[in-house]
Symmetry: C2
Subunit: 767 residues, 2 copies
């Protein structure tokens, strides 16, 4: 246990003496430990389909098609359940689409639906509740396989075996048809993971020749204006086809010169759907390659040619599998059993599904202003769910994928440059900003990269972008915050969350200013970072919503997560979010013992159902007392005991959370994976350390779950985590050595890791 | 008169002895002869606004905003009246938009409406029929001025003087406001020259800073998918603004985080409209520059900067005026009076309003497949109304603007390359094909350029494109035509028009094949060009609709223009469309005298009202007997007398048409100007010759209206048309000399003109 660490006379571990050295990173066959189906049941919101690491194409089945609004205009809660398009409990598949969020708490995407069918042509998808109402097929999990870069399923209604793989920008479909003269491939440009009247803005389709189809669609929704271009090649010639215009406009400029429904090679309209007919012999393989582009149909064609020139499905899969093994091998772990190995590598897999590459193979991409740019010296990425991912995902990528993470930072800088608000991304979404959640947390990811020296972005440039982002006065109470030192609840809801997150973000900006050598800006933001004090009510002992007149808002309930100044949290848990001044916060809140007791209460207070029912994204599964691991604001909380006199409780809580909130099961995630943040928490915690304060270059030490882990660093060095006496019961850390020397600290630095080396945790059953 | 020409012993004119020489083209102040208001009353469908020659921006007032469908769903005939957005009889202006067709028979465009107002902000345009119902203003023609590159009007409802000028891609607005603290500039992205629910697909607006606004809109309609990008700069900072979303979708991804209606700098949605507020002193000039781009908002910004860097309205106008003078000075004419001078130069002006430049200043443009291309070695153009313009407009441009015409040919070739049908344009419309009218007449314009040696397009490449275009079997009966030698009326309406136009087009393809040295293809198309024979009914003496079983369709009425196998014509007039085999046609139809008598009947038979009422684009004004000058299929008819024994009747008819169908008046056009075709007919006929057979390199001689004309050729040479004894009565040509030598022919060749030289017509009162 930690609290004794400082008192111990250290015995130097022989193991820890092993000098670190530059190592050729071995690539292991680790994909066998990954089960993409984990999290697909209930609220994990992951998808089981095929994708390359950080790939733009994430080709996965849709098990239901959801209308966002019920007939009476009310919100359909199923919209939320189907964020990733797949729910394990379903027994139907409506088709395979090429884009998915992994683990988000908001639905979107589901582009370019492909569905193979046979028999009488059906051109309506149908309804899950009405058997035989559409083209969908039944399937069984017995006939389903998912692995990194691979997904297969038997579509039993049609006796078609579907196999899918993908490169970064191209999905590869292989359908084994029965003998039939009526094989169909449906291409639905109208399908969305959630739909409503008007979500499809425009669709455009061209049958370029008998094996090539191109087009695009523009959708609205969470991304206000999103355009996805595509090119599809078929492995055998189309015999017959039809392009249907489902929502005809009053006027058709073509003067009815053509039979546009049948074998007419172009169509554009609000809602276009097509079918392509083939004849097949028994086990005929009809294959499709579907490339996407954010830029143009020509871009999609080029992506297709560049990535998958031939028709070798197995080779494409092997290539992608090899990419996954390379990525997963960056952390080589030994754990107590296969179950834990699978939980670990599936989590690691889930940290590599977003942000995604968002550019063509020639580097051109669509910017936030809808202009086309070329990434110069970086690869452009999108899907930055930053309120989630600044906490642990970006710090993890900064550790094991620093070059890629730097590309992501460049992508953020480009976003800022293209933003009419001159703001870094809040939630970057396919050349759109959807402003989801609170804070301007790009500055955290930037600070983490700059402080750790992993990006070539000029700190002065980063500072300029950060300062600009933190002064968008009309965004989420920032104007008030800058003037008054806090966000007044009567002006802007979730005001305490905002104030706390802004204060942390401002600390990050101060770190960037330090790196830029700008002491004026450093001082300004250092001061802004203390704003958390302004929402602390000494009387109640809680962070509380304050009004613009300086008074505390009445009717305060520290357990309620709604309307109490917090978002996805309450005063009990989110109120502890001062990661940059934890010691000061603890003093402010009554000192170490009081604070430790408060932490205890968080983990032990059984909260009333009424607080849970209000939250669509919290279930009892994700909650320990009043600690909600399913949401992000508490992710640092288990590590806060380190700052009290009870660091052993960090070790307890962390191990408990790992064992209960992450299980190797279909419903193994206790809440949304949140674009990899939940999984990144697990990876760090398994390794025995966690970035409580991204941007500091320091990790808080916990209790490793691994028996041994080797981190293969991009600089060619390795850093090893070793344990002694590791077991499910031996959760307490008795002793730590770093490179053979006793480590009398509860922190580990990024620099220490980067040097290469070895940390050894000696575990014990008792504190 | 011509028929005596061959018999005459020629006296050599001294005037015609003057040797041609290379001359520096003098530029005259000819814009003063141009009245852009000609044709704005009734059916001319021209617009009075400001534009540079062949400019993409054609900035002109909208005097009414028309809904295409009445409340009961029926077609609103006003749609047709407002093809160019302006009707002279109106006394209201709803705003100024940046794109217009000139003289077409179909409405479209009207992009990016700007309207200055004062006082209480009104955000609805209102209805012409309801006084005070919207932001529109009254105006009087007394306070209106139009000149090439310039338009001004007083908006009397607001006491604002509006002055407009334009460069190729940028409109320049100057508004003189009264003293007010509530000056507004309305920017309406929803406005269309005709509108219906769904025409606006998407609109997108960003207020980049307090003087720069960017955005785009996507519309459907005649062009299925048309995107126009823009950038607007204001001469003084915006004080306050609002962007309204008129058609909100059920879901707004922004979570209501912002007051999006007020001073929020970006918005996207189906229908976006904005206002910008200013304070003004008496006579404050608020100026706007509005640049368009087919590519991107960045493209528009670049166009704006490249074309009009400063705020000098007068200089911009002077530059554009100077461009017009240069263009107009290509033909320097002397005519009997100012009236005729104005008719002539206004017609010449009208031949330079389309096709329009369709690319950014850096050469990038949107292709037919919606991909972005860069024009390599040419300038890209759009708006090819080819069924109209192949007849005389392209031949005219090929004569006086051969380089520009060659660029247009390159644009057609690029269109073909980008076409999913691999077809040259039928009606090229802002990166769309709207397939208007019949034929594949690009091949005529190409043949004309290739035969006359004015394009560097490889004839073999042109031939490939032409052959491909003429074999799009699913287009307008081409499949049947190729197989059966005619279009069967029971398979495809307007079958006779189609067969005749295809036959001529095939003759053009044969000419291209000749140039390419491809005798096989030549023979194939020479044969196809004889297909006109297959729709000639020897029994009736008419071209007649034939059925697929080879029989003639019953109930044939040679005067009816509807349902009788013809479009915009009837058997009497359109039935004479065999320009490539006129002699054979005349023989087939009974010989010269019979044919001449038929022509007489065309011009003298008074036709029943019932035939006129059916046609929205024919009025009594445009008709002489059964000759309809307001439509194109008869444009060669007056010249057909040349091929009989009565060429003097060509001279009579041509002069009569020029004097009655083209007057120097607001309603001086007898029908739609048809993208310049009507005006091009007038220019040629005024000069005394006309391209009866484009692609032949030959013109038919008529009766010049000019006293003298000097054509300044691009090769530096000049060709002069001189007349002797020219007068309104002396309409017959007694004698012709070419370069001083008697000219015993009814034709003049392109080559003769290009050599430079002098043709002298000696006119007389009697035949």
């Amino acid at each position: 246990m930690y609290r004794h660490l400082f008192l111990l006379i250290l015995s130097i571990s022989i193991l820890s003496c092993a000098k670190h050295k530059t190592t050729e990173r071995p690539v292991k066959e680790l994909t066998s430990y990954v089960n993409p189906l984990i999290g697909t049941k209930n609220m994990g919101h992951t998808f089981p389909g095929a994708t390359a690491p950080f790939g733009m194409v994430q080709l996965s089945p849709e098990t239901n098609l959801v209308l966002m609004y019920n007939n009476d205009g009310s919100y359909n809660k199923e919209t939320y359940r189907y964020c990733s398009g797949y729910q394990y409990e379903d027994s139907t598949i409506f088709g395979f689409t090429h884009t998915h969020f992994s683990g988000t708490g908001h639905s979107d995407l589901g582009d370019i639906l492909i569905m193979p069918t046979t028999g009488k042509l059906i051109t309506e998808p149908g309804k899950i509740s009405e058997s035989g109402s559409g083209w969908y097929s039944y399937f069984s999990h017995n006939n389903e396989q998912a692995s990194p870069g691979y997904y297969s399923v038997k579509l039993s209604s049609y006796n078609i075996n579907a196999r899918l793989t993908a490169s970064e920008r191209t999905g590869f479909h292989q359908y084994s048809f029965p003998h039939t003269d009526s094989a169909h491939i449906i291409l639905d440009l109208t399908s969305n993971i959630y739909n409503y009247d008007g979500k499809n803005v425009w669709t455009f389709l061209r049958v370029e020749n008998d094996t090539l189809v191109t087009g695009y669609r523009i959708t609205s929704g969470w991304a206000r204006t999103r355009t996805v271009y595509f090119a599809i090649t078929f492995s055998q010639p189309i015999e017959n086809y039809g392009i249907l215009n489902l929502k005809k406009l009053p006027y058709n400029g073509f003067y009815r010169k053509f039979d546009e429904d049948h074998n007419f090679p172009e169509r554009a309209g609000k809602e276009i759907r097509a079918y392509f007919d083939f004849s097949t012999m028994e086990d005929t393989l009809i294959m499709l390659k579907v490339a996407l582009s954010p830029v143009s149909t020509n871009g999609a064609i080029n992506n297709l040619k560049a990535e998958i020139p031939g028709w070798d499905f197995e080779k494409t899969y092997a290539n992608t599998q090899s990419k996954w093994n390379k990525e997963l091998s960056k952390i080589d772990v030994e754990m107590q059993d296969r179950n834990h190995m699978e939980a670990f590598y599936t989590a690691l897999y889930h940290t590599m599904l977003s942000p995604i590459i968002y550019e063509d193979t020639d580097g051109s991409y669509r910017g936030l202003d809808q202009n086309i740019y070329t990434s110069d010296g970086f690869t452009n990425y999108t899907i930055f769910s930053l309120w989630d991912t600044y906490r642990a995902l970006h710090p993890l990528l900064n550790l094991i994928e620093p070059s890629r993470n730097s590309d992501m930072m460049h992508s953020m800088m480009a976003h800022q440059n293209q933003s009419v608000h001159k703001a870094l991304p809040v939630w970057s979404h396919y050349a759109n900003e959807n402003w989801c959640m609170v804070g301007y947390h790009s500055v955290s990811a930037l600070a983490d990269a700059i402080v750790n020296g992993t990006t070539d972005i000029n700190p002065a440039e980063a500072l300029k972008a950060a300062v600009s982002s933190s002064n968008v006065t009309y965004y989420d109470g920032i104007g008030d915050y800058v003037k008054m030192g806090y966000v007044p609840e009567d002006h802007s809801g979730s005001s305490v969350s905002k104030t706390l997150e802004y204060a942390y973000d401002d600390w990050c900006i101060a770190q960037i200013a330090l790196a830029a050598g700008d002491s004026n800006t450093y001082n300004t933001y250092k001061k802004r970072s203390e704003s958390y004090r302004n929402v602390y009510n000494k009387q109640s002992g809680y962070m509380q919503p304050k009004l613009s007149d300086g008074s505390w808002r009445s009717n305060f309930d520290p357990l309620d997560t709604h309307g109490q100044g917090f978002i996805e949290g309450n005063a009990w848990n989110y109120g502890l979010y001062v990661p940059h001044s934890i010691d000061t916060m603890i003093t402010m809140m009554g000192g170490k013992n009081t604070f430790s007791a408060h932490l205890d209460k968080i983990f032990t207070t059984e909260i009333d159902d009424k607080y849970i029912e209000k939250n669509e994204d919290i279930t009892r599964d994700g909650i320990i007392g009043n600690y909600v691991h399913g949401n992000e604001p508490g992710h640092h909380i288990p590590y806060l005991y380190n700052f009290t006199n009870d660091p052993h409780k960090t070790q307890e809580r962390v191990r408990m959370i790992m064992e209960t909130m992450y299980t190797n099961d279909i419903d193994g995630l206790c809440g949304n994976d949140d674009a990899g943040q939940m999984s990144a928490w697990y990876i760090f915690s398994s390794l025995g350390f966690y970035p409580v304060l991204p941007g500091s270059g320091e990790y808080a030490l916990g209790s490793p779950l691994v028996k041994k882990a080797t981190i293969y660093l991009e600089n060619g060095k390795t850093f090893t985590v070793n344990t002694k006496n590791q077991s499910p019961e031996n959760i307490y850390v008795k002793n730590i050595t770093l490179n053979g020397t006793e480590h009398n600290s509860l922190t580990l630095s990024y620099k220490d890791i980067m040097k290469g080396g070895n940390i050894v945790f000696t575990m014990s059953k008792g504190q």
